[in-house]
Symmetry: C2
Subunit: 453 residues, 2 copies
């Protein structure tokens, strides 16, 4: 038994297997977990302590969740999303990148993204994430107050990044106002709600001016919040930056002084060895989005090399216009497979490594590793319960293999975020899923009618 057993838990999970994502112990075959005031109060190993203690007894908890045949693990951490883009999911696929962006995505965003659609689409995206086991996201978009509000309304934990871009973006008309807008956004949300952590996102080295990149970095340093940027996503980007600045995107950003331990670089598909060294020295963290990178034919980050160099790498789905799903179990499966075939080595990116990327490493990347990412007493109770009683998860020799190579998001039965039950046996506790789907479906129908086929 670890933790304080004398207090009565709000929620008691009984008879679960536990994958703690810690080293001591990594796995508990049969345990009860007590949750109180949003935190993990105790983890009782029932094999080690066959006699039940006085408290932590089922009768003493406000809510009991019987979990025999289920696996408790930390909720997954999706380190890169553009959630409102679910509204455009499947609108245009299999197209050349520039035709896709300029012919469909940018025009559709300009016309259809507003406070109302962003909120509605974010609710839908969050429902999808919860149903597939993600409890924390890091989103980068516009109309971000509405995204934060959706997180509060669905009960998700989120790093919500105000986006900046130096050509027409839906809600940012005047580039001089950017730093002020960033300050105001951070003021509204820093210490505003424990589930929401505000941050800042510059779209890319090729869509933001040097001034914007530096200004937003300055604000992020002042306010101690993460600074995100798409970096070295495509070969074309590398070519554009080289042509304009006579150096690669990484060196360009480093000369601007924006690469440091507060920087989260997204994608990083085109890196030289010396750039990898530089990113490691600067303490930059990397969000890896393999499914999106593959679908857009963007390239592939050299993740095994990044890990060998000690760089923190988390997983992201990217937006659903380029994925087109938010299932982080599938992203783990992809991350485990793609680097094996690229490196011609089946031992790289083993299941345990990939699970860490999807949980504690993702939390570390977002600066949340002291709060979430493992099942440990005192950490926030962001937990998912995976139903192991499924044909595709039978028989069960090793949990990590099963979770990475055989499971999918739909195996998640129950989700607890910040100690609150959000999803129970695949039914939402307090949001109306049908209503959320119908609202976005209506918006999609409108887009279908207005856009040429």
């Amino acid at each position: 038994m670890t933790g304080r057993a004398e207090e009565i838990p709000d929620i008691l999970i009984t008879d679960a297997s536990v994958l703690t994502m810690t080293d001591h112990p990594p796995f508990i075959a049969r345990a009860d977990i007590g949750i109180r005031d949003g935190l993990i109060l105790f983890i009782r190993d029932k094999e080690a302590l066959p006699e039940p203690g006085r408290s932590g007894h089922p009768d003493a908890a406000r809510q009991i969740i019987p979990a025999r045949g289920q696996l408790v693990m930390p909720g997954l951490v999706n380190t890169h999303t553009h959630l409102p883009m679910v509204l455009l999911r499947g609108l245009a696929d299999d197209l050349p990148l520039m035709e896709w962006l300029n012919g469909f995505i940018f025009p559709a965003e300009g016309r259809f993204m507003n406070e109302k659609t962003v909120y509605a689409a974010s609710l839908l995206a969050m429902a999808e994430m919860i149903l597939s086991g993600t409890t924390t996201f890091c989103d980068s978009y516009f109309f971000v107050d509405r995204i934060a509000q959706a997180a509060l309304d669905t009960g998700m934990r989120g790093v919500v990044c105000q986006g900046f871009i130096d050509f027409s973006a839906p809600d940012v008309a005047d580039s001089r106002k950017k730093a002020r807008l960033a300050e105001q956004f951070l003021s509204r949300w820093q210490n505003g709600h424990p589930l929401i952590k505000p941050a800042l996102f510059c779209h890319s080295p090729y869509t933001c001016s040097s001034e914007t990149l530096k200004e937003i970095k300055r604000v992020s340093l002042d306010r101690q919040v993460p600074y995100l940027i798409h970096l070295a996503e495509t070969k074309d980007e590398v070519g554009m930056i080289k042509e304009k600045y006579r150096k690669t995107p990484v060196l360009y950003l480093d000369d601007l002084g924006v690469l440091d331990a507060g920087t989260i670089a997204v994608h990083c598909n085109w890196l030289t060895d010396v750039e990898i060294e530089l990113l490691a020295c600067r303490g930059v963290k990397i969000s890896h989005c393999p499914e999106s990178n593959m679908k857009l034919a963007a390239g592939m980050a050299p993740v095994p090399k990044l890990l060998r160099r000690g760089i923190t790498v988390g997983l992201g789905t990217d937006g659903t216009a380029s994925n087109n799903n938010l299932d982080l179990f599938r992203e783990m499966s992809m991350a485990a497979r793609i680097h094996k075939v690229i490196e011609s080595d089946p031992t790289v990116m083993d299941a345990g490594t990939v699970l860490r990327m999807g949980t504690i490493d993702g939390a570390r990347l977002l600066g949340l590793d002291r709060q979430i990412g493992t099942v440990e007493v005192g950490k926030a109770a962001d937990l998912i319960l995976v139903d192991l009683n499924q044909p595709h998860l039978t028989p069960l020799y090793r949990c990590p293999s099963q979770l990475v190579y055989a499971a999918s998001g739909s195996d998640v039965a129950t989700v607890i975020i910040d100690g609150k039950l959000v999803l129970h046996n695949r039914t939402f506790v307090h949001i109306d899923l049908q209503n959320i789907m119908e609202t976005v479906r209506d918006m999609g129908n409108l887009i279908s009618r207005e856009l040429p086929a």
Copy 2:
């Protein structure tokens, strides 16, 4: 309306969207589908014919399946499996290939695969396939009568291949008996049951002798059944064959005379351009298994090139020891993504192409395209109903994109094979899933206890 409306259907699916996988029409927004005597009796386009006809009326069918909000499409065709290997799923992963094979898979197969375990594991694998929308499989293994029996018991359509290998395989001790064994197996199952099509499988150019390869080919030609073989799966295989025979595996097999229109070559990850030409000329068909190839770091077939050359390519999951799931929706998603990033071209392997590979092209590869693979009057009613009312499938702009990039096997609600309802709203109609899982779980526990950790 197409088809005979005057007959009373056994099953009537009402108000479904239909992805026919034909060109005329590819999609019907709202249709009723009548099924009788195992076949599709009629497809009634309700938008085109708003007035219901006399028959085909709901009252007239023996069983009605209301399908509003669901999509009917052809059942998926998994062209390469080793189904009994679900028993070893997750037993050993992330290992070097030879350590994995010789240290775990071959010894475990030798010790634990027998008539009883093969039957039990096949039932489990088939349950998993049905739950993820596969209605036809092509399996290559040993103890194959038990696999065929499992297909009959679960109601699946299967091409069941007797396996041949020239080192210790569980049920083939004497290599001289191989041709006779093949003949006997074919005699038992040819015209034995409409759902079972027997075929022959030689394990590979490096595990079968030239005599075995030729003898089994001779029998397959005599009896007009498909001849399967793993081919050019790894670079090591190419090296071994080159060292032994002074030519590549493809040229070696061609010199033996075993490459023809009845040959299904599995994997084909290492092909030169001239070998692709040769395979195309010979009419060889190729089963593509990207998830397995990636997990084992085996290599990757040049599928866009094969398709441009007119070669028929189907999709396979391979066995669950190397995948580790049988979800063909995930395989489609993988096939669509991996070649885009390899070719640096987001337009290759578009959703429609990949869906054809998972349905009608897979059927063509198995010689079953006149029976299955499309939703057409007169074809066998092998149909799956996908529940579109899900957050990750909302909104819906284009069905093919949604199915390939966002859907997964767990979205399949209902499965009909050969006109019989097998799965209804994710509940099996006539098999006891819990019992099947428990039987294999017990076998897995035994293996865990007997094998060193």
